[in-house]
């Protein structure tokens, strides 16, 4: 996965929409080089001084952008993602919620065949504080530069935990919301492997929730690969009922599949410190790093 560096040109798809506009401004304020936007039929306009093009191909040709942030409505996300990946986008960040599962799987197949990566959908995006890179909707004040990598399946919980890390003096090398859907463009295992190779990162905070078996798979991967960086995890949903979607499409327990207890047990068995509340994360991290 190619993460952008300071000054790298970034594309925003559906820039003239309500959220595209708002977050173009907030990303620019953070110092991110939002170089172009797209929206079919709106080429020639500009948003916050950033030119808007009709197609991704045109925007990529004009700016050399390799990463795109999508604020495209769910029903058009498949077409928009195919357009971006076909035009050479290597990192596609999909903020959009409610993308159909089969559309996500098609995008994932296309990304794999082109060696590109997808983050999301249904996620807050990616932030690299030291590089002033923000590809998403997270509130900047919660984050600060540092050596902890944070990933989460949830948006606000990412901000909450990043804010607590920041207050406790633990800045972040990178923070990513991988998405709250049953399918994630980048899985926890893929993400943790990426972080393992990051020299500027000394520890990882993994934030999961009920639903699926991503955390159980992560636990097996940690054991098998001999993961070397200390990990602190938090899993939301210990008191969630079964068979109910808890806000996120992916946060649902079927029978005994997807319970918080199963995830916590698996992670603990793999040597991961598991916080029982978000507020406990910084203290456990301190322990893990001492």
């Amino acid at each position: 996965m190619m993460l952008p560096k300071e000054g790298d040109p970034i594309l925003v798809q559906n820039m003239p929409g309500k959220y595209g506009r708002l977050h173009t401004r907030l990303m620019l304020d953070y110092g991110t080089n939002v170089a172009a936007g797209t929206a079919p039929g709106k080429g020639g306009q500009s948003v916050e001084g950033v030119p808007v093009y009709n197609t991704v191909a045109e925007a990529v040709q004009k700016t050399g952008a390799k990463a795109s942030v999508c604020f495209v409505p769910a029903e058009f996300m498949l077409a928009a993602g195919e357009e971006a990946l076909s035009a050479g986008i290597r990192l596609l960040v999909i903020i959009t919620e409610h993308v159909p599962i089969r559309d996500e799987l098609r995008l994932l197949q296309l990304a794999e065949s082109r060696g590109a990566s997808i983050i999301g959908p249904n996620c807050p995006g990616l932030i690299i504080p030291s590089q002033k890179v923000k590809l998403g909707i997270m509130p900047a004040p919660s984050f600060s530069p540092g050596r902890v990598a944070l990933y989460s399946r949830s948006g606000t919980l990412t901000y909450e935990i990043a804010g607590q890390l920041t207050s406790a003096g633990f800045g972040q090398s990178v923070a990513v919301g991988i998405g709250g859907d049953p399918i994630n463009g980048t899985t926890p295992v893929e993400w943790m492997d990426h972080v393992q190779a990051m020299e500027d990162t000394s520890a990882v905070v993994a934030v999961g929730e009920i639903g699926g078996d991503a955390e159980e798979r992560l636990a097996r991967h940690i054991e098998k690969s001999g993961y070397s960086k200390p990990i602190v995890a938090y899993i939301a949903g210990r008191h969630a009922p079964k068979e109910k979607k808890m806000g996120h499409a992916g946060a649902i327990i079927y029978g005994d599949y997807g319970t918080a207890d199963s995830k916590i047990r698996a992670l603990k068995a793999a040597g991961v410190r598991v916080a029982s509340t978000p507020a406990e994360v910084p203290a456990l991290l301190k322990q893990a790093l001492s």
């Binding site: 599962i101 089969r102 004040p141 949830s154 909450e160 049953p182 808890m246 996120h248």
Partner: protein, 365 residues
């Protein structure tokens, strides 16, 4: 969206899958009418979405009309996982010698659709012996794929061809209707070797419903769930006395855990969504304020794109409308001091951290 069994079986019929002869009824008169057109014995099956209806007594096999009425009356009175059956499926029983399993479902971990088949069914798919799992292309399967799965199950030739054709139909249904799960459990083998799906479980991908307007009106909606979905809130009723409201699914989920750990009983989960503005806070408060059973309201907001001052203004508007149940609020993030000032002098109890707010709301202090 999960379909009721009878709805799933209607879909099965559309896709050429066999189903037992059955009549859907809404009352005891309906049961009597159904028996006139069906051959006894019949199964009386509660139509609920909750799992474990068999264990909960929601299915009865009956041999005569008197017993049918007694059992139907008993099942209408049940609460299965909190759900009262509005309807029963009266279905001819299918004498059989074996039960198999077949499904098409999303495998989240492998990020692919799979078919799972087993020649011996059971309640728990995880522990089914000798099951066959095969990945399915997004573009579907062909006859040779289906025949291969059938051969792996080592079925007799006549059953093998029936099985392959059932798998082809089920896969087409799952793909065209964008199901997360289409399951036949059990798939019964009759005395003469004829395969017959006895139960049907179908879950449609909620996010794909815009492409399937035919499912829009299938479910009677709870008044509060309907209201919440019109407002764009993620909302789940939980039955306790503390309404839990926040911004962001994960944050609200973690707040439920704090409440549960402190010994409290959440009445609902309400996620306002990202970037919630003043009107949305107001709508959410009005909704939980009139939700039956709610005694206290807990608000947990981590302000980012959601402005904490909007939250405070929203709370104030609803307070000004009259009686509001006690509100315990943790409002944190940008402009929180200003938000706090806006709420000073109101009955709202304000806390700096989520654990503090939770401790107070659970005690009811």
């Amino acid at each position: 969206m999960r379909l009721f069994e009878y709805q799933a079986k209607q879909l099965f019929k559309q896709y050429g899958l066999p189903v037992p002869k059955a009549v859907l009824v809404h009352d005891l008169d309906g049961v009597r009418g159904a028996l006139a057109s069906l051959t006894l014995p019949v199964a009386i099956k509660s139509q609920v979405l909750a799992g474990g209806r068999g264990k909960a007594g929601g299915i009865a096999l009956v041999d005569d009309p008197g017993q049918a009425e007694r059992e139907a009356s008993r099942i209408f009175g049940l609460s299965i996982g909190g759900e009262k059956p509005d309807s029963l499926l009266v279905e001819e029983s299918y004498p059989h010698v074996n039960e198999m399993y077949l499904s098409v479902s999303l495998d989240r971990g492998d990020r692919a659709f799979v078919t799972i088949a087993a020649s011996a069914g059971g309640i728990n798919v995880e522990s089914m012996a000798g099951k066959v799992i095969r990945k399915i292309s997004l573009d579907g399967i062909d006859a040779s794929f289906a025949a291969e799965v059938a051969s792996l199950l080592r079925l007799p030739p006549d059953q093998s061809s029936q099985f392959a054709s059932i798998l082809l139909s089920l896969e087409r249904l799952a793909r065209e209707k964008e199901c997360e799960l289409a399951e036949i459990n059990p798939l019964a083998v009759g005395k003469d070797g004829t395969l017959m799906p006895l139960d049907a479980k179908v879950i449609i991908d909620d996010n794909a419903l815009f492409r399937h307007p035919e499912f829009a009106k299938l479910h009677p909606e709870d008044e509060f769930e309907g209201e919440a979905s019109r407002q764009g809130f993620a909302f789940v009723r939980l039955g306790g006395d503390i309404a839990v409201v926040g911004n962001g699914a994960g944050l609200v989920l973690s707040t439920l855990d704090l409440v549960g750990d402190a010994g409290g009983n959440p009445a609902c989960f309400l996620d306002l969504g990202g970037g919630a503005q003043q009107e949305r806070i107001e709508a959410a408060l009005r909704l939980v304020n009139r939700l039956p059973g709610v005694d206290r309201i807990l608000i947990n907001i981590y302000g980012g794109i959601t402005r904490t001052t909007d939250v405070a203004a929203g709370i104030n508007t609803v307070l000004a409308e009259g009686v509001v149940k006690p509100v315990y609020a943790r409002v944190s993030g940008a402009e929180e001091d200003e938000a706090r000032r806006l709420l000073a002098g109101t009955p709202v109890r304000m806390y700096r951290t989520a654990p503090e707010a939770v401790e107070a709301v659970v005690k009811g202090a």
